[in-house]
Amino acid sequence: DAGITQSPRHKVTETGTPVTLRCHQTENHRYMYWYRQDPGHGLRLIHYSYGVKDTDKGEVSDGYSVSRSKTEDFLLTLESATSSQTSVYFCAISGNRGHGEQYFGPGTRLTVT
């Protein structure tokens, strides 16, 4: 299994508070992604990174920001959490070789009350 960890694994927070989720990889992979999973929608891409300090928006990026200051860490920040951001968040990685396979972390369940 790819070495991907996410922290925290579970979090409950109040509306309006900032939240940062961390994705850490030990595979030295170039590409990292953040997805959210909601019932009826499958997984949807929030933001992705194609190198240190290189990031771009995905399908559902409003209300989220990301940073990648080193290869192994990709942070997702909710500047002011809203109830619509209650979801399960997955980080994924993929390498330079292969055919784009992405390997996923264990997920973070975030509840915004």
């Binding site: 997984l43 992705y48 194609y50």
Partner: protein
């Protein structure tokens, strides 16, 4: 924009039987990749099988195989000799790969129950 559709929200199959999960997609791209991911109750996303659009031969991984029909934009997953451990949500996904990596576009998922 690319879309992926899984028209079967739920399916069930008896242990040791064969089941086929359907997936269709829409794209104007010619070179792309298709995937099936499995998500058991543990919530972990597990890659099951991958298909390159430029390959005519259908991919196979042990008990899992696909029927890739490029002209029809169809990508079904066949699970042979179903096992209790195959019980999971299955997601079909589409990707175009470029220098910035590949953004997966997922279907809504099919919940498969394998019954003893």
């Amino acid at each position: 924009a690319q879309t992926v559709t899984q028209s079967q929200p739920e399916m069930s199959v008896q242990e040791a039987e064969t089941v086929t999960l359907s997936c269709t997609y829409d794209t104007s791209e010619n070179n792309y990749y298709l995937f099936w991911y499995k998500q058991p109750p543990s919530r972990q996303m597990i890659l099951v099988i991958r298909q390159e659009a430029y390959k005519q031969q259908n991919a196979t991984e042990n008990r899992f195989s696909v029927n890739f029909q490029k002209a029809a934009k169809s990508f079904s997953l066949k699970i042979s000799d179903s096992q209790l451990g195959d019980t999971a949500m299955y997601f079909c996904a589409f990707m175009v790969l470029n220098r910035q990596g590949g953004k997966l576009i997922f279907g809504q998922g099919t919940e498969l129950s394998v019954k003893p």
